[in-house]
């Protein structure tokens, strides 16, 4: 747009960013509070982090969440990429609108609906609920996000490079692996990362679809948070924030180095 920003523009951006970051900053600061009373400042300390190491239930939940996220993000990335290819490359096939609608729906529908629907499905097919049902549920939830990101990328690049490869006698599968895949790789990687964080973050759908022995980290945190603020929870949250922030910063630096226009993996951005 035109000219420079006015004071009003600057104030909007400044206040907006302050609103977004101050609560997180406070959470991080209080996680280093020596006092058990959350509101009383007792000096800097890492005691809550040390206590976390002894919290068997919390560590166990974190381990389960990590495994669920790794598995479901990987499967969702494969399925989501295939779905995006179908939507972009197969033209106007029969049921295309229904197919794209079904892929997009989980992106925007309230989680309680998706969670309950998946649970009823698992009950109907009589699977024991636990680790694997959460993985399947998260694949269902996140593959739509992957599809959207990859689809935007597929629409953005010149298809004639693929045609050139095939004209020169390269078989379709090899063309896909050596030409198409490297070109869409940044979007596929962003899709995987988004799927991973969404899975790590999900409380509602996991609550519906989990079973005995598969308490994920958000479920664990939620059950503690309902009882009030605890310094240990501040510490868990700070660790999660640090991990995610490092990952996102590294990813955006990486994609900025490789090409000038990084794929920003966010729903609604397409």
């Amino acid at each position: 747009m035109r000219k420079g920003p006015t004071w009003f523009n600057l104030a909007s951006i400044g206040l907006g960013l302050a609103f977004l970051y101050i609560p997180i900053a406070i959470l991080v600061i209080y996680s280093f509070n020596a006092s058990r009373l959350v509101t009383l400042w007792g000096g800097w300390s890492t005691r809550w982090y040390a206590e976390l190491l002894n919290d068997e239930a919390m560590l166990n939940a974190a381990w389960i969440s990590l495994r669920v996220a790794l598995l479901s993000a990987t499967v969702a990335t494969v399925l989501g990429t295939l779905a995006a290819l179908a939507l972009v490359r197969m033209g106007r096939f029969r049921g295309r609108l229904l197919f794209s609608g079904m892929i997009y729906a989980p992106l925007i529908l309230p989680e309680v609906i998706i969670g309950l629907a998946l649970l009823l499905l698992f009950v109907a097919v009589e699977v024991d609920r636990g680790f694997w049902t959460v993985v399947i549920a998260h694949v269902t939830l996140t593959m739509g996000f992957v599809a959207v990101i990859v689809q935007a990328r597929l629409l953005g690049f010149d298809q004639s490079v693929e045609e050139a490869a095939m004209d020169l006698g390269c078989p379709p599968l090899r063309t896909f692996l050596t030409v198409t895949l490297p070109l869409i790789a940044p979007a596929v990687a962003s899709g995987w990362m988004l799927a991973f964080t969404l899975s790590l973050d999900d409380l509602v759908i996991a609550s519906f679809t989990t079973g005995p022995g598969a308490t994920t980290l958000p479920i664990r945190i939620y059950s503690e948070v309902r009882l009030g603020v605890k310094p240990e929870i501040n510490a868990v949250c700070t660790i999660m924030i640090a991990v995610v922030a490092l990952g996102v910063v590294a990813a955006s630096l990486l994609s900025k180095l490789r090409e000038n226009k990084p794929a920003m993996p966010v729903p609604g951005a397409v």
């Binding site: 747009m1 035109r2 420079g4 920003p5 006015t6 009003f8 523009n9 600057l10 104030a11 909007s12 951006i13 907006g16 609103f19 977004l20 609560p23 997180i24 406070i26 959470l27 959350v38 509101t39 609108l97 794209s100 997009y104 729906a105 925007i108 529908l109 309230p110 989680e111 309680v112 609906i113 309950l116 629907a117 689809q151 935007a152 629409l155 953005g156 790590l200 973050d201 409380l203 958000p218 945190i221 939620y222 948070v225 309902r226 603020v229 929870i233 501040n234 949250c237 999660m240 924030i241 995610v244 922030a245 990952g247 996102v248 920003m264 966010v266 729903p267 609604g268 951005a269 397409v270």
Partner: protein
């Protein structure tokens, strides 16, 4: 096969008042999000080009951290001895601590906080594409800047506004975590009612009926949103 569960939804005021409350909270918070999100998106779109990308990353970054954590962060601030009351007392604005937690205000704060990136992003995307020669033309023809804003910028950013509004409104209607952690216990949003029927009362048929009616309420906005998204992608082709 019975429709008894649906009959219950209409005869018991607990259910339909939950639906109404959810729709009302979603509508009001979407409006608040628009009032807050538009100036931010507009400010970023007018910033120097090399700053726009880092600024958008800063807006989006909190979206990547856990939703649950971001809601929880507000409990730290809004509780009785929390930072908000302490600050207000220190500044001499209030004498006695106010009740923030377990109120509708807390729900609105939590929702606006969590959904802000979803509103800023689509609006920024349309503002960024806006052809600035249109504004120059308006200025050349003697149109004051505020008038050009209302007559050119706002109408041209309507697709982004509509996308942002739907992207927020639809999930907010079914929101569970925010009202559960920040809201009071006297009135429930429909997501909480569904959760209660399912987990506390173990009444799966009623929970399912609640979900189906919620889905029916949301089907029109969802279809509109998907239609807009597909058209956008087709245009990009």
């Amino acid at each position: 096969m019975t429709f008894e569960n649906y009959g219950l939804l209409f005869s018991d005021s607990l259910y339909w008042s939950s639906y109404l409350r959810s729709l009302q909270i979603a509508a009001v918070s979407t409006l608040l999000l628009l009032l807050l999100g538009f100036p931010i998106a507009y400010g970023i779109a007018r910033a120097p080009r090399r700053l726009q990308f880092p600024l958008m990353v800063l807006i989006i970054l909190p979206f990547w951290t856990s939703f649950l954590i971001r809601v929880y962060a507000w409990i730290n601030i809004l509780q009785r001895e929390g930072l908000l009351n302490e600050t207000l007392i220190a500044l001499g604005i209030i004498q006695e601590p106010l009740v923030w937690l377990a109120t509708d205000t807390a729900i609105y704060i939590g929702i606006v906080y969590s959904y802000l990136p979803f509103m800023v992003l689509p609006i920024y995307a349309t503002l960024e594409k806006l052809d600035e020669s249109l504004l120059e033309a308006a200025a050349d023809l003697g149109c004051p800047r505020w008038k050009a804003f209302w007559l050119v910028t706002v109408p041209l950013s309507l697709p982004g506004i509509a996308a942002g509004a739907l992207l927020c409104f639809i999930p907010i209607v079914g929101e569970f975590v925010i009202p559960d952690l920040l809201g009071g216990s006297e009135a429930m949003m429909i997501g909480q009612t569904l959760w209660m029927e399912f987990f506390a009362n173990r009444d799966w048929p009623v929970a399912s009926a609640v979900a189906v009616v919620l889905l029916i309420l949301l089907i029109v906005p969802v279809v509109i949103y998907q239609h807009m998204q597909t058209r956008e992608l087709e245009d990009a082709r």
